[in-house]
């Protein structure tokens, strides 16, 4: 009996919150609750950053790459994403494409060595996703991680935040 109550309590605490009503466009992408600032901070604690303001998130041996909030703000409205081909092999720091905004064509540099497995097709029709959701739907490419030790050389969230603060002074 006690066990059953305990289990019920555990399952109650794990039951998902009801999704808040979101605008129709959001529902097409996913049915999770809309992100708030605090949940973005939790999500990005798993991110690693380069000094070129790119982030990489590793899941199941695949790295997802995007640009940081600092970068998307500095860039202005993105009008075109020039991304590499699937299958292209990239060396760490090699330029693999460019984001064109009203400001300029800004080169993108690979945070790691590996092979491109996927590019974000949503960005073809909607390049502004890079500005609107740079850590989520605005991801750029996914790649294999040939040299995991390169990740150790990247900054964690705390170190990256420190870099941003020093730049903004």
């Amino acid at each position: 009996m006690a066990m059953r109550i305990a289990l019920r309590r555990v399952s109650a605490s794990f039951s998902p919150r009801l999704p808040q009503l979101a605008p129709p466009a959001r529902l097409l992408w996913r049915s999770d609750p809309p992100r708030t600032l605090s949940s973005t901070a939790v999500l990005s604690s798993a991110l690693k950053f380069t000094d070129k303001h790119e982030w990489v998130k590793v899941e199941g041996g695949i790295g997802t790459v995007g640009i940081s909030n600092y970068a998307q703000e500095a860039l202005g409205d993105v009008v075109y994403c020039g991304l590499p081909e699937v299958g292209q092999r990239l060396e760490q720091m090699e330029d693999f494409g460019a984001l064109e905004s009203v400001k300029a064509a800004s080169e993108l540099y690979s945070p790691l060595t590996g092979e491109v497995t996927e590019i974000n097709k949503e960005l073809t029709e909607n390049p502004a996703l890079v500005n609107k959701a740079c850590y989520e739907e605005g991801w750029l490419i996914k790649m294999t991680i040939e040299k995991p030790e390169e990740l150790d050389g990247l900054m964690d969230q705390a170190a990256y935040d420190k870099l941003i603060n020093s730049l903004e002074e």
Binding site: G82, D95, S101, K103, E107, E125
Partner: protein
Amino acid sequence: MLNVRRSWSLLRRLGCRTEVQTSRTSSCSSGVFLSDAGLVLKSQSTDVFQNLALEDWIDANVDLQRRGVLLLWRNRPAVVIGRHQNPWSECDLPAMRRRGIPVARRRSGGGTVFHDLGNLNLTFFASKKDYDRRRNLKVVVEALRRVSPGLAVHATERFDILLNGHLKISGTASRLSRKSSYHHCTLLHSADRSALSAVLRPSCPGIHSNATPSVPSPVANLLDHAPTLQWEELLDGLVHQYNAEFGLSSASSLVDPTDESTFPGISRMEAELRSWDWTFGKTPKFSVQTGLELEDSSARCSAQLHMEVKSGRIQSCDLQVPAAWLPVRLSGELTDSLVGQRFCPQRAAAGVASLLRAQSGELQSRLHILCDAVISVMG
């Protein structure tokens, strides 16, 4: 020996970061040898690929953290498209081929421009921190007002420069890389405006693309509105104003972008800019949907063509040709032979040659007409 010494002193002034193999076998490092706070360079070349390579070289090799560089250059007739544009929709490639005018893709963003010897290009190199297009255009506008007092010129929100409120005399584009930036702009002094309008139109109809489009504008030449403004006077005025704006005292140096000893690695950069893979292969994915009018002495008909082109190559091709005019089997063989080929008239013609040889009589002649119509769509 004199050439080496000249190259060496220029390299020292450039404060380049790379190691250079000269007869002295020394490396130059940023900051150590610099005495100038600024640098103004004028390119001796009028080749668009050599000059674009020179921009790439300066961007990659010169330390721009402490001060910038101004490069002045001009090209023999050429069309220059932006980084993410579609050459088939931006310019008339067959017309350009007939006139010997090449198309080049630059690394900065923005739209398509026509270059000739009456158009001056200015490139302002700076650190990313000092990237300031408005300030650079202020240099140009103020220089123009000084050399031609009363000239009504101003820079717009889009970083164009307009004459008399509505005539475009300058367009801007830029690139941000690792640590540096460059902002370049055109300046129409005495360009051939009829050549410009002849080439800045699509190669073929029916292109659907999300490549960055150009914003067409009516243009004017400075010389038409300031008839006494000589080319050299314009250049001197710009150099003077650049120095005034940035508190410098640089004299200008002539540079030769074909000089591998001064610019090691530059010929490789030039080769990449000339390559088909860069110029055409970097075109964003697009589709072509158009009608073809086919006619021989006995009949005429309309056909529909739909092609998908990715990285400059034909990914898929669908041809709807009335079976009465040409057997469906033959239209199918044509489309099969095109898939995987470059979207290029010469390659396509070579690809269909064997198909044509296998036919004879009226079939061959109609297939030929169809091939010509399809190939003409490729520019």
